[in-house]
Symmetry: C4
């Protein structure tokens, strides 16, 4: 009886309890990420660190309870353990327990594992699910354009290297150094840490920008339109399920 209720709570999101549970876990993930960010602040007082540790401990405790609840109500235990979200749920709590033996604060790399919780967010956040849908729907085109982009960046880097290496041997010391310029320029970020100063280099920059501006923006454009598509599809599904879902 109680098991069925837990099952409905953790696995379904169209019951009241399920919705509250989902929102609560999402809140915990965001809290966990915020406290992760706060922990990176320099000159943090000891009392602040203690509070952050307590938040971390409580979060892990609840995530552990969530993990075992899901395990208990899962019909096929092993399948859950080795499923995508099963592994992530475990990976989101395990580092804490391992690090509890040694001093957590010393082992900096363990902090990074907490970011795995971002992936937990994918189960709950529709916005992030769209990322995954969008990404997988354009994987093939993305690979093609990444090849084209890398090729263009290489040409840009080689070109500017030959124009600028003699005048700016530090900034354009090799093709690899020049690649950084190519990235910053063709994405139009233009930090201003490296830029051509020879006339030839400036003309080359103009030409490569005219051709390349559009190309390097294609992967980003594909991602954006796939994301928009994913949202539209979701909206349609939402419209359909609203009719039946309103009864729950």
């Amino acid at each position: 009886m109680i098991l069925a209720k837990i099952k409905r709570t953790v696995e379904e999101s169209d019951t009241r309890a399920g919705r509250i549970f989902d929102l609560f876990i999402q809140f915990l993930i965001v809290l966990s990420l915020v406290s992760f960010s706060v922990e990176t602040l320099p000159d943090l007082s000891d009392s602040s660190r203690d509070i952050l540790y307590i938040i971390e401990a409580i979060t892990v405790a609840i995530f552990t309870a969530e993990y075992f609840s899901r395990l208990i109500v899962a019909e096929k235990k092993l399948k859950f353990i080795f499923s995508f979200y099963g592994i992530i749920d475990l990976a989101a709590i395990l580092p804490f327990y391992i690090a509890s033996g040694v001093d957590l604060r010393a082992v900096r790399i363990f902090r990074l594992f907490r970011l795995i919780r971002v992936l937990k967010m994918f189960r709950y956040s529709k916005a992030l699910q769209k990322f995954r849908v969008a990404f997988s729907s354009i994987r093939d085109e993305l690979v093609l354009f990444l090849v084209a982009t890398v090729f263009l960046l290489f040409i840009a880097a080689v070109g500017i290297y030959y124009f600028e290496k003699n005048v700016q041997p530090d900034e354009f010391g090799s093709v690899f150094h020049s690649l950084w310029w190519a990235v910053a320029t063709l994405t139009t970020v233009g930090y201003g840490d490296v830029f051509p100063i020879t006339v030839g280099g400036k003309i080359f920059t103009f030409v490569i920008l005219l051709i390349g501006l559009g190309v390097i923006a294609v992967p980003a454009g594909l991602m954006a339109s796939a994301l928009t598509q994913a949202v539209d599809d979701e909206d349609e599904k939402a419209d359909d399920s609203d009719d039946t879902g309103s009864g729950g």
Copy 2:
């Protein structure tokens, strides 16, 4: 009789008097905003300040007259007072009267209240009305993509933090410091105050730019296309009303 004329003047915009009234109020709002801007200039002479004060006083006087005219001709007084524009009209003049007791120039924050007049502009300017229409038509998508954008910026900030914190502890002192870099980079503004200098950080920048450039541009793109849509809709309406409106 005269009341009906005032009513037509302040509430309708397809009579000649109404059009002139609308343009006059718009001119006053723009004048008010310009004088607000001029007032922020450093080293302003006392005589200039006096002129600005007189402009302000006259503007407020006319806006007060406008407010009471609208109140008088309104059929449901209370409804007007608590309507969106009713509150804005009052908020645009009230600070001046309150501040007149004390010395206006000392209470700097009161000057900011004058910006509420920008909102008055929404009643008159079709261009700004389109902003409101556009904004409300894409609110849901905007929220979704803002979540996605914030998520992406967080990932970018955490990534660059780990690559750069040891080499540039001032610029990338914490995840929050790094967020500023993420904003400036993924919007391609690239001020050049913070940028990666490690090889790892530069490669990470390249990867996150390829994926993120498009995503962070989606809210802006949505706004732009909704705005264009709002203009097209308005144009169609304008075409329809031209047939009947030409008789006025």
Copy 3:
């Protein structure tokens, strides 16, 4: 007889003589603009200046001949003189004759008049004609969006002014100073001469960028799509006239 030939040469562009004439005048305009640019180079030798003067004199002589040819063959002389291109043709040569009395090189502003020749180019260059067509087809929308853009820049400037004025009184000294930041940021140019350094200013930059990036790009986007439209229309016309034009 000879008049009819001149008429065909200067007024028609589908005869062989007409095409050569058109190309020759275009070449002269480009030469004139290039020599205008060369003249702005500092430390120009006297002999270079002499060559540039000779080029200028020859160009003006030919343009004068062109002007009188057009005047002679025009059926309605007065109509030609006061037509758009008639005025431009005269304005392109008159400053030279006026300046010949005084020393041309001393009167710097007269040099700027030579740029009027760019407008002559509009008669010959299809690419530039498209600019004019594109521009006039979207004038109404452009005005609307310019209002919206100016409004957005104003909001951005006022906001950043309040966040940054105390910390950077030189860069953000008034709303007008801040407008420059707003332009450089919302167009994503981001020179890096002014940028927020307070936390509030940085967060405000993020918010205004998310909303404003797209809006400020709309006029540019409208121009781009109108230009593309103008090209497509031209292509269709070109396709149609190819059938009949091939006989000429």
Copy 4:
């Protein structure tokens, strides 16, 4: 018998041997380009240079074998020699043999010839073939918009030159100097090495950006959409050939 096998290997890409051969040559080209880039690194040890030379020698040897294989199996030998890829294949190996007489490392310009191998890549890489298809499909429009872009950059450069030359004689010393500012600004790269400091120059920048932002992005946009079109066309072809190709 063996000739027919070689023919199938080098000329066809739907047999197993052909596919492996294609991948192997592509790998060699990438290796060759990477080693070219590594060679530009400063302070390279002698042993590293030796390894790079060996890689180069082996690559050239294999490319030579490839060239002669293609020559032998070609039905019309002369046609192959003077075909696009025939010339590129030869140009990719010849410099090595010519430079072997003299000291290769001294003749820096010969290194650049190795970049011709990038063009070899076009035969194998579908992503790069799309570049060529896309480029040739929009050549006419591209020329038109390049004229428009150059015209706009010229106007921008002349304008900013007149506003800034007196205040910043080094950065805006002539129209040619100012062109660099125009390129960096209208592409929104904005390195920050040159920017207007006069009020007039800043207002001019705002106006030219509003109009020009979109125009200068058109060639890039055309390239991007032509590239996307080329990918879609390829996909359709791929879908069609999948039915028959699955039997190979």
